[in-house]
């Protein structure tokens, strides 16, 4: 459940580079949604908002608890997944697909290289 082609943060977000766009797509990992349980609310930033790596820019709330979501890279939010307002359960059912959160255009494309790769993220989850 850790796709090889994505990058990851220690806060359990994934980042996908898109071949035909400068913006990267961001979501939470399978591991994160499983730990949270049924997600019932998602709060996302507005399009155009500034994202600062490591800082909270939204929240996901499950029946049990609430968690911040952290920006994986510096940049600007270029799109948000508006279907999550009506269907937050997409984060549980399809965290790497329909349950994506936002797209961010990184201030520096090279910043992705600082994130974990699948192997690094797998080691992280196995040590938690």
């Amino acid at each position: 459940m850790i796709p090889e082609d994505l990058r990851y943060t220690p806060e359990h977000e994934w980042v996908r580079a898109q071949p035909d766009a400068p913006a990267v797509r961001v979501g939470i990992t399978h591991y994160a949604q499983d730990a949270l349980g049924d997600i019932v609310f998602v709060q996302l930033p507005d399009v155009g908002a500034k994202a600062t790596a490591g800082e909270s820019f939204g929240e996901v709330e499950s029946t049990k608890s609430v968690s911040d979501i952290y920006a994986p890279v510096d940049g600007a939010v270029t799109a948000v997944n508006s279907s999550l307002a009506e269907s937050p359960e997409l984060l549980n059912s399809d965290p790497y697909g329909e349950g994506w959160l936002v797209e961010i255009e990184p201030a520096d494309q090279a910043a992705l290289g600082n994130l974990l790769d699948a192997t690094g993220y797998r080691e992280l989850t196995e040590s938690e």
Binding site: G37, F41, T63
Partner: protein, 368 residues
């Protein structure tokens, strides 16, 4: 998981179903199951049927000549209002302060035999207080690990029990002895979900046979194994208090608006003097329901405001899977003079979220 937690007899069954576990009153119990999750399990109980292992609940037997009379002189509710074969919600209060040591269900078998189901964390203390006060000839036995308790809750519960040839016709808050595949058990028409349902008190050694039978027969009825996560959202929708949150040594039955479970006319019960005085003077705070008027899920210990004035605190708060909004039980200062429909604010991590005062239950009960 720490090893000092007590495990219920069905622990291996829960593991095999991919349960996530959590500690409840010193017991390691299933929170939710791999194929379910809180919302799916909650919905199964509201719309079909759910099967819960609630074996962490305490079990105790008070026996001997005058046992019922003795229990009635200790616990708040009036056992004289019910006859043998009936169960009653009651409370064990602190005699000096009136706070709630525990809330529990008393099952009246006979004048000389009362069975009690207290909360897991409080069973030893309830037993200690009763044993200390018991007259000669009355014994109090803590049977916490002797029995398992399986709750079968939801509109399909009758059909599921009937499939196991168990009795279903007895009325709400009554119980009857029965057997399943030669094993004796007690079928109670009780529950903590607000739905029509049963709680089965089963010898611990027979728990797996009954559990397997329920899940096997339940497969065709849309039955799900349900964890304590769903049990909490279900009970919160009903406004049922949870001891340790909405009732405690600091929260009296008068404040919790549980006066209906106090036999005020009885000559004696623990805490009588304190509680009568508080009732007479009027409590300084009472348990009120709040329903979110916008997005936001209240959680225990969050502060409640009317304008700039802090008027109370959330004691239980969750997302209501049925209504799809945040709901809360709160202790609100009487001085705030809130009426139903009034708007207040809850401080959710530094953000004020609007909520409306409502009288629980938040969802229509179907217990009968």
């Amino acid at each position: 998981m720490t090893d000092d937690l007590q495990r219920p007899p069905l622990h291996d069954r829960h593991s095999a179903l991919g349960a996530k576990f959590a500690a409840f009153g010193g017991w390691q119990m299933p929170l939710e199951y791999a194929d379910g999750g809180v919302v799916a399990e909650h919905t199964a109980v509201r719309e079909a049927v759910g099967v819960f292992d609630v074996s962490h609940l305490g079990k105790a037997t008070v026996r001997g000549s005058g046992a019922a009379e003795f229990v009635n002189a200790c616990l708040t509710n009036d056992l004289g209002r019910i006859g043998p074969g009936k169960a009653q919600y009651t409370m064990c209060c602190d005699d000096a302060a009136g706070g709630v040591v525990d809330d529990l269900i008393a099952y009246l078998h006979a004048d000389d035999h009362v069975f009690l189901i207290p909360n897991a964390a409080n069973t030893a203390e309830v037993c200690r207080r009763l044993a200390e006060a018991a007259p000669d000839g009355v014994t109090v036995a803590n049977e916490h690990t002797d029995h398992a308790v399986l709750a079968v809750q939801g509109p399909g519960s009758t059909e599921l029990l009937a499939a196991l040839k168990l009795p279903t016709e007895h009325e709400y808050m009554s119980f009857t002895e029965a057997s399943y595949e030669g094993r004796s058990l007690i079928v109670c028409r009780t529950g903590y979900t607000g739905e029509h349902g049963y709680e089965l008190v089963v010898p611990a050694t027979d728990a797996a046979v009954v559990w397997d039978g329920l899940l096997r027969a339940g497969a065709d009825l849309g039955a799900r194994p349900c964890g304590l996560g769903a049990r909490d959202t279900l009970r919160t929708e009903m406004g049922y208090p949870l001891h340790g949150q909405d009732l405690s040594m600091e929260i009296t039955p008068v404040q919790a608006r549980a006066g209906w479970a106090v036999g005020w006319k009885k000559p004696a019960f623990w805490g009588r003097e304190q509680l009568l005085a508080e009732k007479e003077a009027g409590p300084r705070r009472t348990l009120r329901g709040l329903e979110a008027a916008e997005r936001g899920i209240p959680r225990a210990h969050m502060d409640v405001y009317a304008g700039d004035t802090r008027i109370g605190e959330v004691t239980s708060g969750t997302f209501s899977p049925t209504k799809r909004v945040g709901i809360a039980l709160t202790l609100i200062d009487t001085a705030a003079q809130l009426a139903e429909g009034d708007e207040v604010e809850v401080d959710i991590r530094g953000r004020r979220s609007r909520m409306r005062v409502v009288k629980p239950p938040f969802v229509t009960p179907h217990v009968r």
